[in-house]
Amino acid sequence: MSGYEPIRKVVSGNYAAAYAARDARVQVVAAYPITPQTSIIEKIAEFIANGETEIEYVPVESEHSAMAACIGASATGARAFTATSAQGLALMHEMLHWASGARLPIVMVDVNRAMAPPWSVWDDQTDSLAQRDTGWMQFYAENNQEVYDGVLMAFKVAETVNLPAMIIESAFILSHTYDIVEMIPQELVDEFLPPRKPLYDLADFSRPFSVGALGTPNDYYEFRYKIAKAMEEAVKVIKDVGREFGERFGRDYGSMIELYRTDDAEFVFLGLGSLMGTVKQAVDVLRSEGYKVGAAKVRWFRPFPKEEIHDLAKEVEGIAVLDRNYSFGMEGILFTETKGALYGTDAQPVMKNYIVGLGGRDFTVNDIRNIAKDMVKTMEKGETSGESLWYHLKRG
C-alpha cells in the first residue's frame, strides 16, 4: 500500500457514486431521474454547475434514451456513465444489449429497487438480476466505500475487456445512508485509470466504416463468441485490477468472492450486496454462541465466479444461499447459479435457499440466527432442499 492521504467524506452511497464518476474523469453523462437513484445525477449536475468537472451532461426524456445517448458517446471513444433503478433499468433493457453487443465500456450504477407492481422504492435485487443475460458485468457493493471503489475499478475492467459494467447498490440502505468514504486524490486516480483507448475510432474519416450494421447468419455467431471470450477474460482482469487497487489504495478486491470467517466453518451464508454486511455482523454473534459459520459475499455476479464458488464449496458442509430476489417458476437466482456452478464437480455441500428482504423487508441479525438454526436442521438431514424457504412469510 502506498502511503497516500485519502480524502475522507461522510457521504451517501449515491454521492459516493457521483464522486467516483467525477474522479474517473467521465466525459459524458446521460441520465433520467428515478427514485432512489436521482441524487447520483443531481450531485453530478452540481459538480458541473460548480465548475468542478468537464462532464458533458445530456438531459434525455427516458432511460432508454439515456442508455442510447451513452452508447453514442461511448462509440465515439468517450468515457460514459449513467445511473438508474428498477423500472428505469427495465426500460433500458434493449439498449443494454446494444451496449455490450457493440463492445462499449459504459459504466452504470443501478440502485437496486423492487419492481412494480405493487409500487415500491425499496431494496430488492430482482431488477439487476433480470438483466443477467445482457452481457453486462455486475458488481454488488456492500457499503458506500465499495460503491466508490467499484465505479473506479469498473471503468478499468470495462475498458480492458470492452464490455459494459453495472455497479449495484441497495436502495436507501446504501443510496441514502451516510457513511465515511475514503476518496482517492485525483492524481492517484489518474495513475490507476488512464484515458480510455477505444477499440475503434469513429472520427477517423480517412477510414470510414459502419457500426451497428447487419450481421447475417454467416457472421452473427462469431461476434457472440467474442463476447463470451471477453467475459471469460474479465475473470482474470477483475482479479488483477482488484489486486492493483489494493496495492495502490489499501483495499484489496483481488477475489470475486469475499470470504469472512469461513476457514473452519461448517456452513456459510452466501449472498450479494448490502445484506452481507448484516450477515458478517451476525456471523460474529453466532460464532460467540458456538455456531461454526462464515459469510461469503459474491462481489461479481457477472462474470460468475465459478472457480471461487467451487473452492469454497469443497471446504464447507453446507451453503445457505440468501436471495433478495426471486425468479418465478424456479427459485432465488443466486441459488440457481451456485448450484449450476457446482454441478458435476467433486463439491456437493448441502444447500438451501432462503428468500429474504424482498421489497425492502427488514433483514436483521436475529433473522440470520433463525436461518442458522434451520440450516443446522437441514444439514442433519444431509440433503439439499429443493424448495426455497420464504423466510419472512406471515403464517397465521
Binding site: 453487443g101 457493440a102 463492445r103 470492452n162 477499440l199 475503434y200 470510414p208 466504416f209 459502419s210 457500426v211 451497428g212 450494421a213 447487419l214 450481421g215 457472421d219 462469431e222 461476434f223 463468441y225 467474442k226 471477453a230
Partner: protein, 104 residues
C-alpha cells in the same frame, strides 16, 4: 458504384473464414460498399433501350442508387448493388424496364 455515371466500386467482398479474422466489435471492415447487396436479388431488371426515352425517372427513384447514365445517354444498372426491388420498372412511363426471374 456510380450514382450518376458508370464507375465501378473499388470495394471488395469480404468473407471472414476464421474467428481470428473477425474484428473484436461488430463493425464493418470497410464502407458499406463492401456489402454487395446484389446478392439479395430474386428478380432482375432488364432494360429495353428501344423503349427508353432518357427521362431518367428510374435513376431518380432507385433507392440504392444502382442506376447510372451510360455514355450514350441511356441508363445502365449496377448489378453488384441492385436488390431487384422493381421500383424502376414500376416508375418507368414507357415500360422500358421489365423484371425477370433471375436464375443463379
Amino acid at each position: 458504384m456510380g450514382t450518376l455515371f458508370e464507375q465501378k466500386s473499388a470495394a471488395r467482398k469480404i468473407t471472414l473464414r476464421s474467428i481470428e479474422e473477425y474484428p473484436e466489435a461488430p463493425v464493418s471492415l470497410e464502407t458499406t460498399l463492401s456489402n454487395f447487396t446484389g446478392d439479395w436479388r430474386t428478380f432482375i431488371p432488364v432494360i429495353d433501350d428501344g423503349k427508353c426515352v432518357k427521362c431518367y425517372i428510374c435513376w431518380k427513384f432507385c433507392p440504392e442508387p444502382a442506376i447510372y447514365i451510360r455514355e450514350d445517354g441511356y441508363v445502365g444498372i449496377d448489378y453488384d448493388y441492385c436488390k431487384g426491388c422493381g421500383i424502376c420498372a414500376n416508375e418507368c412511363p414507357t415500360k422500358a424496364i421489365t423484371m425477370e426471374k433471375e436464375e443463379k
